[in-house]
């Protein structure tokens, strides 16, 4: 990874991680109203695990180590007797996802993506200046 223009590649790994985080947040928001019958599990929010590539030494970029599901599988029981999916007590399951939390995650992921883009820009400018060093 750390070639002659190492900072570009490292910022690229950060961009990939934040892109995946954006994907996860958008997935959670897209599925936030998935209601299910009480005989099935509710949709669970998905989160990524970001970790250093060289885990332990903390060098050379970042990667997605895996995904975790958060929130209860039983979700939120809501009384909707008119719903065709309702059980005999009139309950359905909604996912245990908070839209405010997801919007906060979305903003963090977006800002992280932007910061890594800024790193790419600055690194390219710096390398370019170095190449043009001493040019008349």
């Amino acid at each position: 990874m750390s070639g002659i223009f190492g900072a570009l590649g490292i910022a690229g790994t950060g961009l990939t991680v934040y892109r995946k985080w954006l994907d996860a947040a958008s997935d959670n928001i897209a599925n936030i109203n998935n209601l299910t019958s009480t005989s099935k599990d509710a949709f669970q929010a998905r989160y990524i695990i970001a970790q250093a590539v060289d885990y332990g030494r903390g060098t050379e970029g970042v990667q997605v180590g895996g995904a975790v599901f958060s929130g209860k599988a039983q979700g939120k029981l809501v009384y909707e007797p008119d719903n065709p999916l309702a059980d005999e007590d009139g309950n359905v399951r909604y996912p245990d996802i908070n839209l405010g939390d997801q919007m906060g995650n979305l903003i963090m992921a977006q800002r992280g993506y932007q910061s890594n883009l800024a790193v790419v820009d600055r690194a390219r400018d710096a390398y370019q200046s170095a190449i043009q060093l001493g040019r008349a």
């Binding site: 002659i4 223009f5 590649g9 690229g12 961009l15 790419v120 390398y127 370019q128 190449i131 040019r135």
Partner: protein
């Protein structure tokens, strides 16, 4: 009156000693480090590899298989920088060569 003849130069002057170590210094400066041609061709190979990677990502972008937009942009930037670096090195070398050639004028 008699003029005294000039006598032999006495042994007060030490003979000029040859400077030692010249040969080894000359040999070292001649062979030290890789030569410029090898450096440039190594750099060109690096540029070639980066260009190939960038081209492959461009094809992926065109065919819709590209996962990350920034991957392509970063690869393209990297390839461009590598070309700039190699060209800058080559220009400097030619400049230096021309400067040396102008010495006789």
């Amino acid at each position: 009156m008699s003029i005294e003849p000039i006598g032999a130069i006495g042994s007060g002057f030490a003979p000029v000693a040859p400077i030692s170590g010249l040969e080894t210094a000359g040999a070292a400066s001649g062979t030290g480090g890789p030569d410029f041609g090898a450096l440039i061709s190594g750099g060109l190979e690096h540029v070639q590899a980066l260009q190939t990677r960038s081209d492959n990502l461009a094809v992926e972008a065109a065919t819709g298989r590209l996962q990350d937009v920034h991957d392509y942009m970063i690869a393209a930037n990297e390839a461009g920088l590598a070309v700039q670096l190699t060209v800058a090195l080559r220009n400097r070398a030619v400049e230096a060569f021309n400067e040396i050639m102008r010495l006789q004028a």
